[in-house]
Symmetry: C2
Subunit: 137 residues, 2 copies
DNA sequence: ATAGGTGCAAATGGTTTGCGAAAAC
DNA sequence: GTTTTCGCAAACCATTTGCACCTAT
């Protein structure tokens, strides 16, 4: 049986421990630079390349999720149990997470209609939150 | 009254005509390089910078839609009437477009629950098409 | 006449990679 | 002792931009 990249032996390095714990403690989604900034406070010699390499590894191992919340960067967050999606305000940039059971129905319908097996779902909604709508008066 | 960028006078240049007609005739989503390749066949002196500048303009004017169908590039397509989403096969890379009324319900629920006004929807589904599933035997 | 567009080449910015030294197992 | 990772600097690649010239109105 072929052993794929994700199942290979993976040494536990201090850098990996540090990065993963920062991601898990974080309240918000982090991009690579922000993760690097936080990591450097605890290990000043860590490099940005290591951050990128390990983000890729964690993603392949299914430990974190990658999201695109704007046009430029990729954001990461620790993988949690509930499937959730994001709502981004064009006014203040605030990111709201939400869950809805309706998305499962939708996926089932799409799978049936297209004879497709869905393995990844990313729903991105953009608009205006209440505060930003009220401000526009 | 302030005139915003999208309402300013916009000369019709041969480059713009060419680019827009290529996008409208295209069956598939095009990225900037592919659009450039096709444009150069009809106007060998057109530049990639002009392609990018006009893609941005067309997008701001609402003539085309921008989508992310993979991790690297941005893809563009002519804006059509029906709201539709994309299903991308991880096996063969094939892109299936679909529509479903369920997504409107979903958005209404999300708007109600979060007191949010949604202005852009992007649902990205990834998985395996029938052919690619059958091949894995 | 003039605001706006074009082509070119250089810059930008997020991400990836080659390499020799160092660490994990 | 062998395999994998690390830090560094350079490379990559899609996209953007400064500039001098050109074109649509």
């Amino acid at each position: 049986m072929k052993i794929n990249r994700n199942q290979r032996r993976r040494p536990v390095t201090p850098q990996r421990k540090l990065l993963l714990s920062i991601i898990q403690e974080a309240q918000r989604h982090l991009d690579a630079k922000e993760l690097y900034r936080r990591a450097i406070e605890r290990d000043p010699s860590i490099s940005l390349a290591t951050v990128y390499r390990n983000l890729r590894l964690f993603k392949e191992q299914g430990l974190i999720e990658e999201r695109r919340l704007d046009e430029t960067r990729r954001y990461y967050e620790s993988k949690r149990s509930g499937e959730h999606q994001h709502l981004v305000c064009r006014g203040c940039g605030h990111v709201i997470e939400f869950e809805t059971p309706l998305i499962r129905n939708l996926i089932e319908e799409v799978e049936r209609q297209n004879n497709f097996l869905v393995s990844r779902v990313e729903l991105y909604l953009e608009g205006y939150c209440r505060e930003c709508r009220e401000e526009r008066d």
